[in-house]
Amino acid sequence: MPVTAGIDIGAGTTKAVLMDEQAAVLARVSVRTGPFLEKAATSAFEKALRQASLNSDDIEYVATTGYGRYSYPPRDIQITEITCHARGARLLFPGTRCVLDIGAQSSRAMRVDEEGRVLKFRMNDRCAAGAGRFLERIAKALEMDLRQLVAASLESKNPQPISSICAVLAESEVINHITQGKRAEDIVMGAHLSIAERVLALLRQVGVEEEVTLTGGLSLNPGMVKALEETLGKEVNFSKESQFAGAMGAAYLGHWRLQRRGGRS
């Protein structure tokens, strides 16, 4: 039975997934990307093979995605993370019609059809203010780590809005809030809400529909989920596997290509 690999080489982390023909995930791993993309991809791939007790000959097709998708020469194909996250989200939640993918440096909104094909998408192109890196900076300004940040966000009762469009200037705003005696949890939630606003602006441009699935690293952050749900006024799908959506989508599309080999050239 053929197995494919999907490797999502992201700006922050690299994820690898092995998948069989029934779209069952045989292995999933994540490693820090660091400056050397090929190395990160190789290491994620090898770990995945070990996890599934397979060796590289068992893999029929390797699809890469993510910001470093061109940096892994042994690949069979590279596919963008937008296409992959859309498919991956559909694998995780079959009812998905909208996908929000929030990673370290970028956030994207897509509208998809019942097969997970991208109908429309938008991404933040200007500032890093709408993605994970922004939260990391806020955490730093508050002298917290990510875990504390997430925990704090869930405590907030009176979120403090952050209006600055710039991730850096937002830091001074945060400091301002602190000086005015605002509570850390309220500031943190304010930051989550400001990302949510930005991401939802992208989502509204592609059109909001049932169901909305969150993928990418920020799906691991319950504070982000809460902020999105509040801003959107409805529930958002997410799971522990959401951050692997890109790699899953890539592996899935690998099978799709395998079946059609010799079709469109």
């Binding site: 910001y67 596919i79 963008t80 993370e81 937008i82 296409t83 970028s106 094909r117 991208v118 109908l119 998408f121 991404m123 192109d125 599309l253 799709w256 469109r264 050239s265």
Partner: protein, 382 residues
């Protein structure tokens, strides 16, 4: 592929931000040179006055902008900024004049900035009628062209005769016909001619006498038609938006690398303004004025009596395009307004489209690549 030497010399000429070809021309002929901002310029009249029309459309991202940044706010498009930078750094000192037309508020005010900063130049702002239904418009434009001609005559001290106007109209008609042939190749066999090469061939017109450009095109067309290149499984797209500020060459390249064939576009509007030949009878300025009203291409900077959405759908059909890449220059208001109107039309017709923003000096090509690839994938993996 036969990316021949002549292409690299074309590239060198087209990308020369010190305009040395203009200096050479002036030295050889003793004539004067008139620069013009993108989208439209009455080149026929400039040529008839014995002068060289020079397209000034920014600087290919080759300049470190520092003077102009202190003169234009951050929310202004690059072409205005880098064109001003060219001027403020003395790179346009060979120009004896500069022409702007009423394409947008930025270009209009830039003409005033130009007047103040380059008092030694003839700076002209031409009002091109936006009202294309009034009987008064053609008459008005003819007077406006006449006024412009007078200014050139004052500059050169020589009267411009009808004959030389006719001659100008004819040679520019010929140039446009050849450019149309280039575009026909793009439509019919885009694999023969990469988009960036086609663009360079057109852009070369900015810095050479039209006769030379005509012979460049003639030579190139013959060479291109003899090529044997395998076609690729790309999707056919219309590239809308860059009618004024020109996108980086790399963007054109990435669009094709990512799986598109650009089968028609709005690039180099200045050289493609008229959709058919300017008639060569009657009065030359009247003929130009009438053509401006009656033979103008669809453009964001000219009021459209027919709704834009209808016009765009028709264009798509004509070009047999499967999708639209709407590439607007960052901060370019006319393009950004039209985007919404086009978008509605494309959605109504279920035509896939993608909106991208570019800047002359951009670094986010990765983002562009990803978006175009996704766009292509959404059609290919369907």
């Amino acid at each position: 592929m036969q990316q021949t030497d002549h292409l690299s010399s074309v590239r060198e000429l087209a990308q020369d931000v010190s305009f040395s070809a203009v200096a050479r021309w002036k030295e050889e002929t003793g004539g004067k040179a008139i620069g013009h901002f993108p989208v439209f310029a009455p080149q026929e009249i400039i040529r008839a006055a014995g002068m060289l029309p020079v397209g000034v459309m920014g600087a290919w991202g080759l300049l470190e902008v520092d003077y102009a940044d202190s003169r234009v706010q951050s929310f202004v498009c690059s072409v205005a900024r880098t064109t001003l930078e060219l001027g403020l750094t003395g790179r346009l000192k060979e120009l004896d004049g500069m022409v702007f037309t009423d394409i947008c508020d930025v270009a209009r005010n830039l003409s005033g900035v130009w007047k103040r900063n380059f008092p030694e130049m003839l700076v002209e702002y031409l009002h091109l009628p936006q009202n294309v239904t009034s009987a008064a418009s053609v008459v008005y434009l003819e007077r406006e062209l006449e006024r412009f001609k007078g200014k050139l005559e004052d500059l050169s001290g020589v009267k411009v005769g009808e004959d030389s106007l006719w001659e100008g109209i004819e040679v520019y008609n010929h140039q446009r016909e050849l450019l149309q042939r280039i575009y026909r190749i793009r439509r019919e066999s885009p694999w023969l001619l990469p988009a960036d090469e086609a663009y360079l061939l057109g852009r070369a017109a900015a810095q050479m006498p039209v006769e030379d450009h005509v012979s460049l095109l003639e030579r190139s067309i013959a060479e291109i038609e003899a090529r044997t290149v395998k076609s690729r499984d790309n999707i056919r797209v219309l590239l809308l938006g860059p009618f004024c500020e020109q996108p980086p060459l790399e963007l054109l390249r990435i669009v094709e690398e990512s799986g598109c064939y650009v089968v028609d576009d709005e690039l180099l509007q200045t050289y493609r303004w008229y959709t058919s030949a300017v008639p060569t009878n009657g009065n030359p300025l009247r003929s130009l004025a009438e053509s401006y009203i009656e033979r103008a291409r669809l453009s964001s900077v000219r009021y459209q009596v027919r709704r834009r959405r209808e016009a765009i759908v028709e264009w798509l059909k004509e070009a047999r395009a499967e999708g639209v890449l709407f590439c607007s220059a960052k901060f370019c208001e006319p393009a950004l307004y039209d985007y919404v109107l086009y978008k509605e039309a494309l959605e109504a017709e279920s035509v896939p489209y993608l909106h991208l923003e570019f800047e002359e000096k951009m670094s986010a090509f990765e983002t562009v690549r990803m978006q175009v690839e996704t766009f292509v994938e959404s059609i290919l993996f369907a």
